[in-house]
Amino acid sequence: MSPVQQTVLAANEASEHRPLIITLFALFVLATLGITVWAGRQTKDAADFYAGGRQFSAFQNGLAVSGDYMSAASFLGIAGAIAIFGYDGFLYSIGFLVAWLVALLLVAEPLRNSGRYTMGDVLAYRMRQRPVRTAAGTSTIVVSIFYLLAQMAGAGVLVSLLLGITSDAGKILIVALVGVLMIVYVSIGGMKGTTWVQMVKAVLLIGGTLLITFLVLLKFDFNISDLLGTAAENSGKGAAFLEPGLQYGATGTSKLDFISLGIALVLGTAGLPHILIRFYTVPDAKAARKSVNWAIGIIGGFYLMTIALGFGAAALISQEEIIASNPSGNTAAPLLALHLGGVDSTWGAILLATISAVAFATILAVVAGLTLASSSSFAHDIYANVIRKGKASGAEEVRAARWATVFIGIVSIGLGALARDLNVAGLVALAFAVAASANLPTILYSLFWKRFTTQGALWSIYGGLIVAVGLVLFSPVVSGDPKAMFPEADFAWFPLKNPGIISIPFGFLMGWLGTVLSKEEPDTKKYAELEVRSLTGTGAH
């Protein structure tokens, strides 16, 4: 049977139960829209819109942070990467988790203490406002759009599997639907609505993953060694499937790519704007710390379960079927659900529908979080502080944020069509690389380096941003590879798929260089204010 026939077959299996899938999905959409309208009624001022009123508990925010973080990349992408490449896919899980320690030890609490609504609040605190706000806003929007691209790619592949829609027009229609929903969530519900949507989604995702993990382990009598052995055998790659190197071990270049990816993963999280603004939703820094701890627990548990998802898929489904359904393995988790319940059985269809609805909820919620981060940054950093020079009222800011939401929604619908066949986890890793190159150096220098200046901040943001995005543009992700966005073109002179190993040190270097070469003196009074405030919470909003 040809791969195309198999894809069609998988789609047909699902399409018999299309009403069920659509019902489950519609239920989620209705419930979250209800929450959004309710939250919208409670959103009265800018602090409500941007920071959800700052009254969420540490546990609620921990759950919401987990919801924002466990994206389609984690659920579909990692499961798929493990199902195809075995052990190498597991690096994502480890990097995505360890990265939280950077946020916990260095960033979450000082950020909560010294900022108000956006990442730019902290970066511009002791700098000249307009240039640094412009830079912070630009980088927030670029990182979020990279991340959005990955989520939209995930939505596209899911839909083609589930609804049997293989035509481009159909996929674009679905991506447009996701875009419209996210515009509604964010512009009406603001941070309050988005936070509740994240919490609902986190519970659904953890529940769905627990169920699948339990069913996988049940099949192997809870013997993990058996599971791994069967996965290795069924993958046709034997013991190599359980060892590092299948995806990245081939050449010196690919090994370098692995290191680059590893660095980007561990340093990216603490520079992701949509994660950082979550810390403004709790009352104080202590609650921010506790919410990171909750998130580490929840996210860690989830990533441990990706072992069962990924190796389970490899053990129970043939490689041909996984790859035929999606070349990067993005549909391995839903396929696993189908096989666990039994292909051609009602139970299998119900499981497939449930897991797919969960995956869709995941995508919708993360897309909403990303859109909120970019539209708040546009409204608060660029519109209010750069264009209106700090003279905009809260109501005007919120209105600008709502318009920005519509605009970003439209842009991401447009981009969503471009990135269908790339592994979703790989795409997100690019967002991590950009965040780690442009945002993390600037955040750390701002908080901890007395001498840091406006010029240093601008050089590290723009330097990291331009080099990271530039290297991606000329990498095999965009051209010169059958799986690239533009497979026919070839302008890929940079050999690595992830730019982190070059762009992250470059961002740090530029921040240092810009500072030591600056002619202006650092604003020591403002730094005293920032330092005292960031460590003690004095004067925090």
Binding site: Y87, L101, L106, E243, I259, K526, A528, L535, G539
Partner: protein
């Protein structure tokens, strides 16, 4: 002293003047808070990143060692991967304990004094 005190509100702290901030920043008490944070968080950050990079490098360049089977199909790579999870949980717990014991009391003392004994 102003007598027309505004009604108490959670968003209405007294914001200290720039001079007060500079004075506190240079005080011994704040220096100690800064040291307690940095001397704990900085070395620990370097340590966990090094431990994580070691894992990445071993995966890349020590395939034979990582593939060594320990029991059943569980090999060194798998155990080290799970160990990264365990150390992450432990470090998060350790830092939070340190923060609660050593950082929070100092930070709160400075904050309440600066905001006027709120």
């Amino acid at each position: 002293m102003a007598t027309d005190a505004p009604p108490p509100s959670k968003e209405q702290h007294k914001l200290p003047s720039p001079e007060e901030f500079t004075e506190v920043q240079q005080s011994a008490e704040f220096g100690e808070l800064r040291r307690s944070h940095r001397s704990f968080a900085f070395p620990l950050t370097v340590a966990f990143i090094a431990w994580y990079l070691l894992y990445v490098l071993l995966s890349n360049y020590a395939g034979g060692f990582m593939g060594t089977k320990l029991f059943g199909n569980i090999n060194v790579a798998f155990v080290l991967g799970v160990a990264q999870f365990v150390t992450t949980f432990l470090i998060a717990w350790w830092y939070s304990r340190h923060a609660a014991a050593k950082l929070d009391p100092k930070a709160e003392a400075i904050k309440s004094r600066m905001e006027g004994g709120a």
